[in-house]
Symmetry: D2
Subunit: 354 residues, 4 copies
Amino acid sequence: MAGNSFGTLFKLTTYGESHGEAIGGIIEGCPAGLTLDIEAIQKEMQRRKPGQSKIVTQRKEEDEVLFLSGIFEGTTTGTPIGFQIKNTNQKSKDYSHNKSVYRPSHADFTYDKKFGMRDYRGGGRSSARETANWVVGGAIAKQLIKDIQVNAFVSSVGSIFVDKPYQELDLSKTENNAVRCPDEASAKKMETFIKQIKKQGDTVGGTITCVIQNMPIGLGEPVFDKLHARLGQSMLSINAVKGFEYGSGFCGAQMKGSEHNDLFNEDGTTKSNLSGGIQGGISNGMDIYFRVAFKPVATIMKNQTTIDSNGNPTEMQGKGRHDPCVVPRAVPIVEAMAAMVLADFYLINRASKI
Amino acid sequence: MAGNSFGTLFKLTTYGESHGEAIGGIIEGCPAGLTLDIEAIQKEMQRRKPGQSKIVTQRKEEDEVLFLSGIFEGTTTGTPIGFQIKNTNQKSKDYSHNKSVYRPSHADFTYDKKFGMRDYRGGGRSSARETANWVVGGAIAKQLIKDIQVNAFVSSVGSIFVDKPYQELDLSKTENNAVRCPDEASAKKMETFIKQIKKQGDTVGGTITCVIQNMPIGLGEPVFDKLHARLGQSMLSINAVKGFEYGSGFCGAQMKGSEHNDLFNEDGTTKSNLSGGIQGGISNGMDIYFRVAFKPVATIMKNQTTIDSNGNPTEMQGKGRHDPCVVPRAVPIVEAMAAMVLADFYLINRASKI
Amino acid sequence: MAGNSFGTLFKLTTYGESHGEAIGGIIEGCPAGLTLDIEAIQKEMQRRKPGQSKIVTQRKEEDEVLFLSGIFEGTTTGTPIGFQIKNTNQKSKDYSHNKSVYRPSHADFTYDKKFGMRDYRGGGRSSARETANWVVGGAIAKQLIKDIQVNAFVSSVGSIFVDKPYQELDLSKTENNAVRCPDEASAKKMETFIKQIKKQGDTVGGTITCVIQNMPIGLGEPVFDKLHARLGQSMLSINAVKGFEYGSGFCGAQMKGSEHNDLFNEDGTTKSNLSGGIQGGISNGMDIYFRVAFKPVATIMKNQTTIDSNGNPTEMQGKGRHDPCVVPRAVPIVEAMAAMVLADFYLINRASKI
Amino acid sequence: MAGNSFGTLFKLTTYGESHGEAIGGIIEGCPAGLTLDIEAIQKEMQRRKPGQSKIVTQRKEEDEVLFLSGIFEGTTTGTPIGFQIKNTNQKSKDYSHNKSVYRPSHADFTYDKKFGMRDYRGGGRSSARETANWVVGGAIAKQLIKDIQVNAFVSSVGSIFVDKPYQELDLSKTENNAVRCPDEASAKKMETFIKQIKKQGDTVGGTITCVIQNMPIGLGEPVFDKLHARLGQSMLSINAVKGFEYGSGFCGAQMKGSEHNDLFNEDGTTKSNLSGGIQGGISNGMDIYFRVAFKPVATIMKNQTTIDSNGNPTEMQGKGRHDPCVVPRAVPIVEAMAAMVLADFYLINRASKI
């Protein structure tokens, strides 16, 4: 481990800085014989791509995935899938002002101290550009576990919350608006609010809810690789994430056992699902659902005091093109990470019984 | 990976079912030359042990740790530390009624389906008895990273919350009461409430807050082994945990960037600390703090409908001795897991620079 | 990794010094539903045990394996199998003379330098006592891959070689003599020679050949976990091993391609098998065979000059009870390591195709 | 693990087939602050490259390494180093005749059976082209452990052996001839023999000896990651390797303990070095030396009978441009793998003592 690999059997290893020549990765362990829908992969990339609407950053990146190995005549061969995404829109000069200045609530300071140096162009390795790699891994994972439905959506922006449970939402409508919220009324409010925040040169946080349906029973490897523990780790790997809860989550901590227990139906399903589809770290076949908290983007278009690498106070103002609210673009990233976790456990689970 | 190892260089691998002959584990990677305070380890075991007060389960377990290797004349040798904890209080007959019945919101059903069978005595591998192993690993980790202070405490039980920030609490008072809440007024309310819940044959959830002070800068391995992502995974490994948030957490998702950013002082510390001591997955030297949500214990002393392994409806009522609220005993477990994560990153970080 | 785990899905992690209270380990990843023949496991332990005949060390160790978890009513549960072997015959005083003296060609010097200290009692972690743990892992692996036959035997002692190819030997006769050589004429010579060497207070090396029959096609994970590369690593892990070759081995390096190539029969088997049952790191269904070289045991009953930990010259003579030739007792160890490699790849291979 | 990663802290993960668009890899764990000599890396690539002399294949590959990340202004940043090598000389048509025919002693059959399909163009993933990736990793490893000298050379071709011990050779002369043998007289004989073999349309095997000098004490992680066990695994990963021995190797198996033991000098060095610089899996500071056996290349320019994927007998003759003897080109590959093993243990060893 040096922190750039994710998964055990279905494993993604990545490289890349935001302003290097390219980012990319290697997907190991995808079984042979999977006929890939390359267009569907590229479509996931489009969902994550900057510049899709007025409420996201206007940087233009093509984000075309180039596959270099592991696929022969459209089908996986069982050998590692190498892929690459060019950094076509680097504009390094945009970032020269960051050379010796630590941006507040960014990773400039910590990378500098940990490694004794840093690639200061646009966040380098700490940039969310890296998540484009994850979407590639997730898109292939989705095709491997194609019977499982993984659907994420924006469930809050600032203090605007979707106040319906996911069962009352039509998740197929998530892509109908720029915010990626399937509840149209909420979506409108969110969009208006984000535009307003953007005009202020400010940013705002939000949450994403992810629902996993048609789950097989048995995925997850207790005691340290419980399904929800790996889902949690994967979500907390995403830039700007501050919290993760599944099933009843933090609300569950206020409940009584007699309220919280999910009683069984005769077919092994449960009448309620406060457990969130997981018992003892293993999927029980019910829907898995979890919620992820994203802090507001740290780069704001307002003046901020800070220090340079010598500890001298200075001032700075965000430049470049940044998202006023990251959650709409993070929806496909959440799905990608969840899909990779599921694909990995799906393969590992094949070794559970003789 | 088969899910029973935790960590990369400082690594704990465990075995054991609640009603087998013993549980135990192997700690790899503890550097040579650490003179161990065995009494301090045993003291941590006492903190987790059942039967310490009237608000926790009255099962009696000695939980004495027997070290079998890796320590010579009181000092670690750099070789793996094998240890064992006997299961002295097995009372298997207490659990015979579980043989073919799936307890609601327990792991009986999922283990049965995943493995085609299960050790039905008291939860088997899914029992929280396993966490005794983790406390051993954590107690040694604490001694390895002895300059770092790891302090957890109960921050809520049901709807009773400690309403002060941790900075206003005297964390040395945590052990002064049975609830392990350093705020005495809250502790009293919590204790009364738990007794009441117990009398009802019910259980209740709660949260634990953990504060890590005197942190070195530079721990954490982006992009997939970010410090908070591994902390999150470790906490979500603990039985009954439903959520994890660090720094501003879920509240941060409602804030604006201009409110949320932590501005620097000239010495590299920050004026605020909504980031929770971690930027880009790497510690920045400020306090780390996070909150963990525990659901109410599933075993209640009330009658519940359920099914047996053939899908026939039946009724059951909890027997044996169970905790009405798990958070007081989970405090040392939270600390142990956090300490192991820190010890692992502390060792890995030695390879960051040439 | 800290060097004490072996395998990926079928994984053994061990602990223990030769003169601690016990040695033991944890076997992760053994699938659920395997009904174990405990007697067969104990029988493998007997094969490795000291004191079986006059040509091996006369130390008495019971080497009884105590299983602590992972087995319920005789069947594996899919959870980790913890086990322990007591060190009943420690006699620490036998080794006190080693405290500050570095025995030639032992690991005293290197452990001392690497870790800054060492457990000097009988080799500590570097003792071949550790291999008792491996025999437990291997005995369970053998039962998991029960259709595959793994048979090792002594193929040379000093300059006495079995001069027949393995196909002409009756491998069921290996256990008929103390040397574990299925060729009776050679066995007799070897036994006489070892007795003579022992009388001289000296030791001698030898080789073990291992044959794996009834192999499934497809085991092995190129490019870094080729089947023969893992077999080689596993053999080189065994104390005193200096070399590994498979198929044509070092002889193959003198051959021409036209002589060495294995031509196919119509059923996919090959007419010759200089490849040793592996092509490109993957088993092809033919017999796997390999040869392992063991150096002579370093502890001799003769006077040797050496130095103490301060660099002062001194003299020493081996005490205690040691093997004059290690290969007879290493036969079950070779089989055990091979069986664990196969079991691991057998499980991993389940994820090769969709 | 899916077999495409090598190492723990200093870790190489690779992708690529011989006739895909590119091969490449990711090097994780190279510490920050290493100023790379890119030219030296490219020079190692030239050493491995086909077409360097008349006794190696005349395929032309540029093998220029393109670095994509992890290096900023010439210095490593501590983030993963992504790199790529284009396949400029693919000529896929050369291999179309292999589509349904299994080449004898190649991996066509085993890949087909394991994965249910294969990329039949030139060996796909099983091609030695992959080793170009390893040379990149090794070249960077060499710069990380720059005080350690890693020198390999051809020590035999067919039955022509260098009959001097390595101490009597001037290893700086290895590159003076096409065979990469520092003993000029032997080199001449080898070269003549290889030309002769080539004219016959045949191939021949050989051995490479590798010597590691100026070793620090303490590298290697017993009991399963002994230094020689990892060196062995790494060598057995190289295409066509059939055997590995270190120190006294297979000869040592014929010796007595009184002959084999390495007695100490007062400074901790040893008078002899039959141990090959490693005791108990840990380097002792003496020279490490080992020998690797390569079988003859399987592709010969002679007619051979074989079968197609339906089991029908057919005939085939090698086409394309292949090496008559692989050892000269394998010299830099042996060095690269050894260097990566050493770099990994060098970093891991930093965590050995408190």
